[in-house]
Amino acid sequence: MGFFMDGLDAEAYDRSYKDSQLVKRIISYFRPRLRLMLTVAVLVVLGSLLDAAFPILIARSIDMLQSARAFQIALLLVAFILASGALSWVFNLFRQWFSARAVGDVVLQLRRDTFNAVMSRDMSFFDEFSSGKIVSRVTSDTDKFATVVTLTLNLLSQILLFFLIAGILLVRNWHLALLALSIMPAIVLVALGFRRLARSSTQRSQRSLARVNANVQEVVSGITVAKNFRQEQNMYDEFKKVNEQSYHVNLRAGYLYNGIFPVLIALANIGTTIVIYFGGQDVFSHNISAGDWFLFLQSIGLLWLPLTSIASFWSQFQLGLAASERVFALLDAEPRVRQIDKQPVTHLSGKIDFRDVYFSYDDRQTVLAGFNFTIQAGETVALVGHTGAGKSSLGKLVARFYEFQGGQLLIDGRDIRTFDLHDYHRHLGVVPQVPFLFSGTIADNIRYARPEASDEEVATIAQQIGNGDWLESLPDGLQTLVGEEGKALSMGQRQLVALARVLLQNPSIIILDEATASVDPLTEAQIQEGLDTLLKGRTAIIIAHRLSTIRHADRIIVLDRGRIVEEGSHEALMVQGGHYAQLYNTYFRHQSPDYKPGEGFVPVLIPARNESEGV
């Protein structure tokens, strides 16, 4: 039975699927479990019948006594009562079991489907949705999806019970029945009213609690500073204030939550009192028997709690539908990257051709317009330019993370859209700006792309990165655990692991987005050496942020607003005094070992450009 105060903290959500569509699709997920579900439905009906039978049987027994009939018949009735109680329990047992199985299976299937759907989305999807939202769709929205069905079944049982009993009461004595039932609307209204009040107060208390926790977080993080500057007393005073505020908000919310049951119970008891008085009168007037009077009394006791569930059904049902909608929206989302063929990719030499390529993210900003460019196999190309010039887009298009809108992109002379993407990706090595590690050991991470690699292969590869001495500074060498997202390692160490991973993968094309985070000089040297190893003999597109990288590249491409404005070697471009010189002054000047603040500028021979233009 769904507790009637559930689901108060859900967010508002705009719905675009129709309720009927959603219900149909939800049912289709349950279709393979049809037999189970039907059994559950039957058990629900039988259970309600038995629950309704209980008070009737008792009432009959009392009447038997009143009319001084044989004790044995009363005994028989008691036997029936026992049997109905036991049967009801058995039915409930099976009902719980079967519905757990059905719901469990459906949710599992749904989770698998949504996970697969997520895995097959292209990168624009991940730009649009935060990972938190995605995760909640796969785990909690799928749960709520299933509750739609269980809610409905519960509703069925409760409505059935209600109508059975109400029917019997009305048949016995319609005017007393109406009196007894008169208290019901009051119960429903009170339940709904409390829900509404509690909802807004819950939101407020959640926000306030978040504030308190943020404050505690701040104190904990800033304790070193507080101690450094000896500000403990002030911190304590401030905390007490915030804590007190939160106390008041929580107390108010608690009053609401706790106040409801006494009120509802009181209403039910008032109903009982009404029945006692008017029912008693009716017994005096011989309109009903004492047993029936007892039946009326019991009915209130049986019905008031189910009534609250019926009252809250609709809004909980809507919440469930909203959750289902989010799940289906995920499953139905159109992939933006489409392959037109699935040709196998066995070997690539790594020649990349951009021909008249048009590309824009989400139709708002055009990044590339009629872009032409060729990279030879084995060449290392460094891309430089201001933010938004199109550097990362080039890499992402080659990686087929995003779809371009016009022109052609050829790899080894073949249209990139004809590849089996899976195959293609195996020949592609991507090192993102912030390297991501999976929780596990360093060795696990290095062999991620080729899980079947042996320990010796992993060790050999690790040695090839910068002389291998980076392993010495790790507590357990290759078996060191990296923690969630690699947090146990420093940024520099994570980069080294990412390089080793790609090296093991042995791709033909490398796309590297250099990290901008600063790294200690020794690790930096190891990374630079590691890059040397990695780039030898492979085609590489590097979005360069390091001075050493651009110096060692075969070719430097200077991009400005989606166009190539300069290209050449570092020395040649510096002398030209053009865009490159300007970029150097802005982004690379401070990386030189001879750098002093405000010095080291290279002469620029073109008119000074407003830096904020087009960025």
Partner: protein, 608 residues
């Protein structure tokens, strides 16, 4: 409290921290009046609602069966009494629930204050041992468990217990023989309940844990999707997720099975049937009236409710106690350093000596036999790989840690002999992760001086730190609030504010961990100029990633695995240390263009 604290508040309430139970009880005892009020109203409410109503109903039955004129007036009287009982009952009930609410929330509030105070009193060592995430989890999650344990946990348990007592007593009051069924039921119920929770709890725990694991796998796959796609490992992730989701499903089904077999429901049915039978028998024997039977059945049905709700509340109590234990453990941890009231105090000159310093962090050796010295005003750059011991070294200076062997001396006096306050007030640290408070910029800059700083001094410090320009760029200038509810600053901006903060307190000694990355050279110019300014006239231990910084330092310490491999100036090290040379190897000597620039008149924005 026997433990030493670095910070205490006068007049704080002392709780008993011997064990979780005693601790919780000591919190309750602070509110004796509320506890009393709660018990009183709860008992009254229970008696009225559970017992009186049933008894009055029975009386009504008897009145009606008499079938004479007096019956009607009795009925009327009973009805009026019932209304009275309902009214007073609901008031008592509300009173009980509300006072338990107040108690629960107050205890949670008090516990939070207590934890906070305790955290402030702990040493820096303690805080470096804990991970912020852990402490936070305790502070929020465990507090919530604690609060939930009291309300609704204790409340419902007490209420259920009371219901059973009141019902049994009322039945005894009706007719002692009728006690047979309820007593048997209560005994059987308790056994069944224990058995049930023993079976369900491990499964619930496992289910919860498995949910967490499944979520973690999912989270990782989504956070690392770029890697997954780039390495074409979607199938691997799908398999991992599928296995975990399946295990969760299995626990879910098992839990549903166990819940379906919840015996107390069956026992209630048996008890009601048995009770009814017994009562019927007694009626036929004319030992009790029908009204008594009605009252009896009414009382028996009340026993339904404690059965449903109790399972859930036991787990609340379990969670709450576990939470209390964790919180207590945190609070009871000893701090090793104390304030050293009688220690040495003087104005520092800034000479520092490390002599044969050995230091281990727990069981891991960090520094081995390290010796060096620095004169007042010198900038010492510390170079080494991650884990080489750089930041540990700096933390020995202001006694965040103490050495295991050897000594650290400032101006010839061992740091352990200095008064802690005098020591720390003259040493400033600018760390890697700059922490700023969610307050105005000027409050952050003036943090060390409390209320004593004046505007002019703040502005001067900000100017020297190259922060004044960007601060003026904000709408509210120096009053701009930063942090979650305000403006977010970039790493470089935060660093400069921290530098301004340090300038204002004008310490003799500076520990600077400069590891921010500047994306552009113009910002780097400002930051480096600010750093230059703050290095002037102070002895500085500098941990930096900028090779240009290392190069211009007065002295360089090269650490490897906790040992000092070499020390000297840049030129000295380049000449004799190969490992040091490696750092600069990828940066080729200046090109012809730059040589021209360095010597010529175009040393600023060289536009012709």
């Amino acid at each position: 409290m026997a433990s030493r604290q670095e910070f205490t508040v006068t007049g704080e309430y002392v709780y008993n921290r011997a064990s979780p139970t005693r601790w919780i009880v000591s919190h309750f005892l602070r509110y004796k009046r509320y506890v009393l009020a709660y018990m009183l109203t709860a008992i009254l409410a229970n008696i009225l609602i559970n017992s009186f109503i049933a008894l009055l109903t029975g009386a009504a039955f008897d009145a009606v069966s008499r079938d004479d004129a007096s019956g009607r007036s009795v009925l009327l009287r009973i009805t009026l009494s019932l209304l009275g009982v309902v009214l007073v009952g609901v008031l008592m009930d509300l009173g009980a629930r509300l006072s338990s609410e107040i108690m629960g929330k107050r205890i949670a509030r008090d516990a939070r204050n207590e934890l906070y105070l305790s955290l402030l009193g702990k040493s820096q060592t303690f805080h470096n041992r804990q991970r912020v995430g852990d402490v936070m989890a305790r502070a929020s999650n465990d507090m919530t468990s604690l609060s939930d344990m009291i309300v609704p946990g204790f409340d419902i348990i007490f209420d259920s217990f009371l219901s059973i007592v009141v019902v049994v007593t009322s039945i005894a009051f009706l007719n002692v023989q009728l006690l047979l069924a309820p007593l048997l039921f209560v005994v059987a119920f308790l056994f069944a309940l224990r058995r049930y929770s023993r079976k369900l709890n491990p499964v619930s725990d496992a289910m919860r844990a498995q949910f967490g694991t499944t979520n973690a796998v999912l989270n990782e796959a989504v956070a690392g999707i770029e890697v997954v796609k780039a390495t074409a490992q979607e199938a691997q992730e799908q398999r991992k997720f599928g296995e975990n989701a399946m295990r969760y499903r299995d626990y879910f089904v098992k839990s549903g099975q166990i819940q379906g077999r919840y015996l107390p429901t069956l026992l209630v049915a048996f008890a009601l049937a048995g009770a009814f039978l017994h009562a019927l028998f007694l009626v036929t024997q004319h030992q009790i009236s029908i009204g008594t039977l009605v009252a009896y059945m009414g009382l028996m049905t009340i026993l339904r409710y404690p059965t449903y709700i109790s399972i859930w509340t036991f787990s609340l109590v379990q969670l709450g106690t576990a939470g209390a234990e964790r919180i207590l453990k945190l609070m009871k941890e000893e701090t090793e350093l104390d304030e050293n009231e009688s220690g040495y105090r003087a104005e520092m000159r800034g000479a520092i000596v490390f002599e044969h310093v050995t230091f281990s962090y727990g069981n891991t050796p960090v520094l081995k036999d390290l010796s060096f010295h620095a004169e007042p005003g010198q900038t010492v750059a510390i170079v080494g790989q991650t884990g080489a011991g750089k930041s540990s070294l700096t933390k020995l200076v202001n006694r965040i840690y103490d050495v295991d062997a050897g000594s650290v001396r400032i101006d010839g006096i061992d740091v352990r002999d200095w008064n802690l306050d005098a020591l720390r007030s003259q040493i400033s640290t600018i760390e890697q992760d700059i922490f700023l408070f969610s307050r105005s910029i000027s409050e952050n800059i003036a943090y060390g001086l409390g209320q004593k700083a004046d505007e002019a001094a703040i502005k001067q410090a900000a100017q020297d730190a190259q922060a004044h320009k960007f601060i003026q760029g904000f709408k509210d200038g120096y009053e701009t609030v930063i942090g979650e509810r305000g403006v977010t600053l970039s790493g470089g901006q935060r660093q400069r504010i921290a530098i301004a903060r340090a300038l204002l307190t004008d310490p003799r000694f500076l520990i600077l961990d400069d590891s921010t990355s500047a994306i552009d050279s113009a910002t780097e110019d400002e930051i480096q100029q600010a750093i230059r300014r703050v290095l002037q006239g102070r002895t500085t231990l500098l941990i930096t990633h900028r090779i240009s910084q290392i190069r211009w330092a007065d002295k360089i310490l090269f650490l490897r695995k906790g040992e000092l491999i070499d020390e000297g100036t840049h030129d000295e090290l380049m000449a004799r240390c190969e490992a040091y040379r490696r750092i600069f190897s990828h940066y080729e000597p200046p090109t012809a263009v730059q040589e021209k620039v360095a010597s010529g008149p175009l040393s600023k924005e060289g536009v012709l």
